[in-house]
């Protein structure tokens, strides 16, 4: 998965139009990225990538690129 596909996946996860989500999109611009959204993010990260997000990682996520960075750190992005 490359960055573009991962960004699209994040948009779908939070039920946002793909075009409105970029790596720079801040968390508070994504309506569904609330405490319940965190649970769905955790579940999808586990299911798709085998990554179990910690509370510390979740608290440090303020924009879409912070999610992408976890994927980069775990070698899950191809670009």
């Amino acid at each position: 998965m490359n960055t573009q596909d991962a960004t699209k996946w994040i948009a779908e996860l939070f039920q946002e139009p793909s075009a409105s989500v970029t790596p720079d999109t801040p968390r508070d611009a994504v309506a569904a990225w609330d405490s319940l959204g965190e649970l769905t993010l955790m579940a999808d990260m586990d299911e798709k990538f085998g990554i179990v997000l910690t509370d510390t990682q979740l608290k440090a996520m303020h924009r879409v690129d912070d999610i992408l960075q976890v994927l980069r750190d775990q070698g899950k992005l191809t670009d």
Partner: protein
């Protein structure tokens, strides 16, 4: 200790008990926006919950369940050798809630009675303890009670818990032996105290007896911390228990999950490759009732019970502590499963704070 086994005890009966008051999350006033409530209900799966009144305690729920199971089995009170009460919502700091129930059931003064202070994982620990006692000499019949009133310690303004919790009690009647001495029960019991504050009531205990912040009298839950814990801990819990017992997933008739949250249970089922047809859910009707959700789900989970063999159940309990445990046990064909509810409270005996 990773896993352990005991000689199998015989489960003679399980009765669960809930308060009369049913609360409909979607159609009654919760103080939250309708869309917000719908979202939580969709995710957590809690449509209705049973709420204790301000005068109903875990002891009342367990007492009603205990009376029912004793009556169903025709057990005389003096035949009960021990009463184990698992709860984190006791009537008093002291005496033990077990002593109050001992009084109300008119058990003999030769009966051992004590509390175990565990929550979500409590039923698996309680079964292990009872089985250990029954495989020694002296104890023949044990009543294992497990009751909680988490809705009473949830803040109604805290969205993380306000719509989630229900109250319930249970009584499990266990007897020594009962046949094949080679039968075993298998348990895995674990703890990670580093997560003690992921689910906590900070105030009211002796660490902070009279906190200035009234919110500290209510439970605080770190939902993502708890979810992280369950994703990490429950899959290996299942694998290690089955491996120790030398059985496969197909040998288990039902996987009885602590009814924590529908989304979490479904994620765990998928992750572990467990068919949902063998995972009963009661959270939609009763909410998350803490540890007693395990016996409640055995009693109310519409288990299909063949007439010619016992059911093999893998009980999975995890949460506050952090503490988690499993129990691979058999439920005999003759075991009586009942469900009762407390009588509706009249206005004079106290309403329900919602």
């Amino acid at each position: 200790m990773a896993t352990t086994s005991t000689r199998a005890a015989a489960i003679r009966g399980i009765t669960s008990c809930v308060p009369a008051r049913s609360f409909d999350n979607l159609n009654e006033s919760t103080g939250f926006e309708k869309e917000e409530v719908e979202k939580v209900v969709r995710l957590a799966g809690v449509k209705t919950r049973r709420l204790a009144t301000d005068n109903e305690c875990s002891s009342d729920l367990c007492l009603a369940a205990a009376r029912d199971v004793l009556g169903s089995l025709g057990w005389e009170p003096e035949s009960v050798d021990a009463l184990i009460m698992v709860t984190q919502s006791p009537d008093y700091f002291l005496p033990s809630t077990a002593c109050l129930i001992h009084r109300d059931l008119r058990l003999a003064d030769t009966c051992a009675a004590f509390d175990v202070g565990l929550g979500c994982s409590g039923y698996t620990y309680g079964l292990w303890l009872a089985a250990m006692m029954l495989q020694g000499s002296g104890f023949r019949r044990i009543l294992l009670l497990h009751g909680e009133t988490p809705a009473r310690f949830a803040s109604h303004s805290d969205r993380a818990v306000a719509l989630l919790f229900g109250d319930a009690g249970s009584a499990t009647a266990l007897e020594a032996g009962g046949g094949d001495e080679r039968r075993r029960w298998w348990f895995a019991l674990h703890t990670d105290g580093a997560g003690y504050d992921d689910l906590i009531i900070e105030g009211g205990g002796f660490r902070d007896r009279f906190p200035a912040d009234p919110q500290k009298y209510f439970v605080h839950m770190n939902g993502t911390g708890i979810f992280n814990f369950t994703i990490k801990r429950v899959p290996p819990l299942i694998e290690s228990t089955l491996a120790a017992a030398g059985v496969g997933k197909d040998d288990v008739d039902y996987f009885i999950f602590h009814q924590s949250n529908l989304f979490i249970m479904r994620h765990l089922a998928k992750k572990c490759g467990l068919p949902e047809a063998r995972i009963p859910f009661t959270i939609g009707e009763f909410g998350s009732t803490g540890g007693p959700s395990v016996p409640l789900t055995i009693a109310k989970g519409n288990l299909s019970r063949p007439a010619d063999r016992p059911l093999q159940l893998l009980l999975l309990a995890y949460g506050v502590g952090l503490s988690w445990g499993s129990a691979l046990v058999d439920l005999p064909q003759a075991a009586v499963l009942n469900h009762v509810q407390l009588p509706a409270a009249d206005a004079a005996s106290g309403g329900t704070t919602v």
